[in-house]
């Protein structure tokens, strides 16, 4: 007897599999989300400007001109020569702002990359293996959460000296906690799904299960945390630089610009307001993007 699929076996719904693929669905929701689109556009524009800094910056951000100190921006009666004016050393403010975007984005990106790698490895291992691994990771997370980030970062930078590398390293090694917490919870949830049991019953190796069954299903949460932690790192860099223990002068950094401008704040408030506003816009845009990504990929949104 051969087994032909008898017609009475055929599911009546077989004829019309026309629904969108998960990729198509995601794309549709992605482009339909206004907050996400605004946030992503702002971040993209700032990213392009940062990458093209040598081309778009009107002046050398390090070139001092002591005869043209603290020129006001155009809209406060300045000249088009220095659109956003000059700082206390006569350096072009717009050019420093543009190069400062490089510092902020670089720190945000690399710190999130380092902390994301550490936190994801710990969280996924804890969630998947459970037991003693989970106990150790949970303990480490609690230890980390008990440490005040700014104070620890200040102490480390005070000992090692402030530089771009040190700031990136310190933030990268400090900001993994949210990655670990979120990835642990997501892995725990996905591990209980039957497709993971099915892969185990097939005899798939643990690395294979982690990479091809678990990871693709927790990636959405990872992306959300990456954006939020990028914003977090950018703000912390600005804080450290403002306190004089971050990126060191004459490197253009937004936090440093606020710090350098604060002495003249009462007389020339734009020295503080301009870098402050740009920082605010970047962090807001990244957070909008993160929130949007969470909305778009949230499971309750799925059909």
């Amino acid at each position: 007897m051969t087994l032909a699929p008898s017609t009475n076996n055929v599911d009546p719904l077989l004829q019309d599999i026309v629904g969108p693929t998960p990729g198509q669905q995601l794309r549709r929701r992605f482009f339909g989300h206004r907050g996400l689109m605004i946030g992503a556009s702002v971040v993209a524009v700032l990213l392009v400007i940062a990458l093209l800094a040598p081309v778009v910056a009107p002046h050398d951000p390090y070139a001092q001109d002591l005869l043209a100190r603290m020129k006001p921006p155009v809209f406060l009666g300045g000249t088009w020569e220095h659109i956003l004016g000059t700082d206390h050393l006569g350096r072009d403010y717009l050019s420093r702002l543009i190069y400062g975007a490089r510092v902020s984005l670089l720190i945000g990106f690399v710190a999130a990359l380092i902390s994301g790698t550490i936190g994801t490895a710990m969280g996924v291992a804890a969630g998947y293996f459970g037991g003693r691994t989970d106990a150790v990771v949970t303990f480490l997370i609690n230890v980390r959460l008990a440490m005040p980030v700014v104070l620890v970062a200040l102490a480390v930078v005070a000992i090692l000296g402030g530089s771009l590398q040190v700031v990136i390293g310190v933030l990268g090694l400090l900001l993994w906690d949210r990655f670990a917490v979120v990835m642990r919870a997501s892995t725990l949830q996905v591990r209980g799904r039957e497709y993971v049991s099915a892969a185990q019953a097939i005899g798939a190796s643990t690395p294979r299960i982690l990479l091809s069954e678990i990871m693709p299903n927790i990636l959405n949460n990872l992306i959300v945390v990456i954006t939020l932690e990028m914003a977090h790192a950018i703000l912390l860099e600005a804080t450290l630089s403002f306190l004089g223990l971050g990126v060191q002068p004459p490197t253009p950094s937004w936090g440093l610009m606020v710090s350098e401008g604060k002495n003249m704040m009462l007389f020339e408030p734009w020295l503080v307001l301009i870098p402050g506003a740009v920082l605010f816009v970047l962090v807001l845009a990244i957070n909008l993007m993160g929130d949007g990504l969470r909305d778009v990929t949230a499971p309750e949104n799925r059909s």
Partner: protein, 321 residues
């Protein structure tokens, strides 16, 4: 067929205990999900395993699949202990079909990748021959080849369960553990899947362990039935024997529940009055006595010993030797 009397799959005195924490600061307590269970699966038969939700059926399935290690006792495949068997070799012989087709297929993979995964893991064939195998198995489970590029979210529950069946069968296993394969499906699709499983069994000479909380489904397919209550097998008999003359009062209650209209809908109502006991603190004596219409004082104090006879097995004081 000299080896036919060696069971293809056997559990010997298997116990599985989980430790569960109650509350945030509560102490861990042992929960005995499987309590000293011995069963044998002969080649080509369909052993139905029936019992209420939470009695340990899925735990038993996981132990048979090697996904959970028993706390004590042993699992034998063809008379050899499971520990001595290579993980991959075991996977080629025993495959599962799970309950929930919405959770058993990875939503990020297309149907081809899902069904071809066993072949990839076992390094069987090249990409072209895998394509061919997937087409063949799709045809066998009654799906058109073009669904290969679809994703699970685009399919109905019945279609997904066919995909899960295809994945389980693509390596031509001998034993398939079906853990409530139809209870998550629409009533209209359930019988289609049951018929398909039945045809496949005949076609490929499969041995099934067929788990269900519903005796009506078991009657459809099984050749022998084991009834489980709170981690123990309380009765075992051929299908005919069990349905004609159930011996355990619990089996009786399950049978009566089948007679209620539309038994496929959810958990059968056993009309036992009391609810299912807490497995962390099982009742003294016979575990079933608080719900048993025929319980005596003996049942409250003394655990019955199983009686094995030509009809099968029974664990009840009413049938003590």
């Amino acid at each position: 067929m000299s080896q036919s009397d060696t069971p293809v799959l056997e559990l010997r005195n298997v116990t599985k205990t989980y430790s569960v924490k109650q509350g945030l600061f509560g102490k861990s307590k042992p929960l005995t999900a499987i309590n000293d269970v011995s069963i044998k699966l002969a080649r080509g038969e369909v052993l139905g395993l029936v019992g209420e939700s939470g009695c340990g059926k899925s735990t038993l399935a996981k132990i048979l699949l090697g996904l959970e290690a028993p706390t004590s006792g042993e699992v034998l495949v063809d008379g050899q202990t499971l520990g001595g068997q290579d993980r991959l070799a075991l996977a080629r012989r025993i495959q599962p079909i799970f309950q929930d087709p919405y959770s058993s297929l990875n939503p990020r993979k297309n149907i081809y990748d899902i069904i071809a995964l066993p072949l990839r893991v076992h390094g069987i064939g090249d990409e072209a021959s895998r394509q061919k195998s997937v087409r063949e198995i799709l045809d066998i489970v009654g799906l058109p080849a073009r669904v290969m590029n679809n994703y699970p979210s685009q399919m109905s529950g019945g279609q997904r369960q066919r995909v899960a069946i295809a994945r389980a069968l693509i390596m031509k296993p001998e034993i398939v553990i079906c853990d409530e394969p139809t209870s998550a499906l629409d009533v209209s699709v359930q019988s289609q899947i049951l018929n398909l499983l039945n045809e496949l069994r005949q076609e490929f000479g499969l041995t099934y362990l067929f788990i269900s909380h519903n005796l009506a489904v078991i009657e459809h397919l099984a050749t022998r039935v084991a009834v489980m209550y709170l981690g123990r097998i309380v009765e075992e008999a051929s299908v005919g024997g069990l349905f004609d003359a159930a011996r355990h009062p619990y089996t009786d209650a399950l049978l009566k529940s089948v007679l209620t209209p539309e038994p496929e809908l959810g958990i059968p109502d056993t009309h036992l009055g009391m609810s299912y006991p807490n497995p962390i603190a099982p009742p003294e004596g016979c575990h079933f006595h608080p719900r048993c219409p025929a319980a005596s004082d003996l049942c409250k104090s003394k655990r019955p010993t199983p009686l094995f006879d030509p009809n099968g097995r029974i664990e009840c004081h009413l049938h003590s030797p």
